[in-house]
């Protein structure tokens, strides 16, 4: 099964993709997390930390460097360039932009090509797409089985969602994830653009925000928070084979969980302005 996570930049797409990957792995699934964003950040949401995330070698750049004989298959790329994340999730970065004029990021070893060639049977591939609709436009048959469209209740995010839904059309099943929902009017706003697709709600969650600030995985620092529990419910729905409820049940009251276990902050190394 191949799931791609799409949406406007800054809507929480990567946080949901990373948390979902780990929750599905905890349910016993074999999970490959493909960071398909040319500004890769999925490692942070998976819990390997900012500096480790920044140091990952992307498949495309790894092949271009060619310092060693590389694997001859796409699955071999996962072994050669991938990295293990917590809960046995395998993480691989498709491509990253790190220098001027880096060559066309959607040609050659592109995220959609990797999605197409990676084996989806017997495991779950979760692709965290680049913000916007570019990769969705290029997706072809066999490259994804399900689109998770993350939408937050803002006009700009809604506009991107409207275009994404139009692009996906009836080619693929699509599930809308309404993120950072505060109240019924937020939910109504997202549902209005969902065009009949199921809507799963992830409530606004200050503990997830704090984890994002600190460069940690919400599942490690706020496992019992309302947001993580909502993503857990999303994982359960997916695991049941799209047995989604016929009507969304937004804003179900959730009891606050226990205080998260304190963690050591993972710091970031210095950067300098020029």
């Amino acid at each position: 099964m191949k799931i791609v996570v799409a949406g406007k930049g800054g809507v929480g797409k990567t946080t949901i993709a990373g948390t979902l990957a780990r929750l599905l792995a905890r349910r016993g699934h074999s999970v490959l997390a493909l960071d398909a964003d040319s500004n890769p950040m999925l490692g942070i949401s998976l819990g390997i930390g900012p500096e480790e995330t920044d140091a990952l070698v992307a498949v495309r750049q790894g092949l271009e460097t060619g310092e060693t004989e590389h694997a001859r298959s796409t699955e071999g790329f996962v072994g050669r360039f991938g990295r293990d994340a917590p809960d046995a999730v395998r993480l691989v970065v498709a491509s990253r932009i790190e220098r001027p004029d880096p060559g066309c990021p959607c040609c050659g070893v592109s995220p959609e090509r990797l999605l197409g060639e990676l084996e989806g049977a017997g495991r779950i591939v979760i692709g965290d797409l680049e913000a916007g609709v570019g990769t969705l436009l290029r997706l072809r048959d066999g490259q994804a089985d399900l689109v998770l469209l993350v939408v937050q209740p803002s006009a700009k995010s809604i506009e991107v969602a409207r275009r994404a839904i139009e692009i996906v059309g009836s080619r693929l099943p699509l599930l809308v994830v309404a993120n950072r929902v505060r109240d019924g009017s937020d939910f109504d706003m997202v549902q209005a653009v969902a065009d009949g697709h199921e809507v799963v709600v992830v409530p606004e969650d200050s503990e997830i925000e704090r984890a994002d600030q600190d460069g940690q995985a919400p599942i490690d620092t706020a496992a019992r928070s309302p947001g993580v529990r909502a993503i857990e419910e999303l994982a359960a729905l997916l695991a049941r084979g799209y047995a989604l409820p016929s009507t969304a049940s937004p804003l179900a009251p959730m009891a606050p969980g226990p205080a998260p276990t304190p963690r050591v902050r993972q710091g970031l190394g210095p950067a300098r302005l020029h």
Binding site: I97, P100, E130, A155, E166, I167, D212, G215, A271, R272
Partner: protein, 160 residues
Amino acid sequence: MRLLQAGKSGTQGLTPVMGAVNAFHAVVHRLDAADGFADWDIIGDLPGGPRQLAFDWAPYASRFVLVVEPTSQSMLTGRRILRLVSARRSTSTALVVNKVAGRKDVERVESFFGTPALGTIPASEDVRRAEAIGVALLDFSPSSPAVEAIEALVERLLAR
């Protein structure tokens, strides 16, 4: 004020708007030398992340304003962008910290980048509500602290 916007891709992909995209690229590469805009201030709003900078979509810029939130993802992105800016040309960069909840947020970002911020924009419910309904913040809440902070930033940018 004049607004120039590149074409948006629709369900047919980029193909129908490639002409507009190419024209936009040509325009931004000629802005700097265009006599008609010699006394204009040009503000380019680039998409998030390093892609557009890598492909030199802001050659007209004499200054980059790097807007960073006090999150690890945002700071990491800012660092990647800085590498590209410095590799592309020697353009000065000003740091702006956005969605600031307190002095600690500013200190964290300033410490990471090793420079004081030129501007700090407070986290604001007004901004969230304006974005929710798609209205310019300046129209929605002209006296909000976020607007005041952006006004102060404008003054500092003009003074440099």
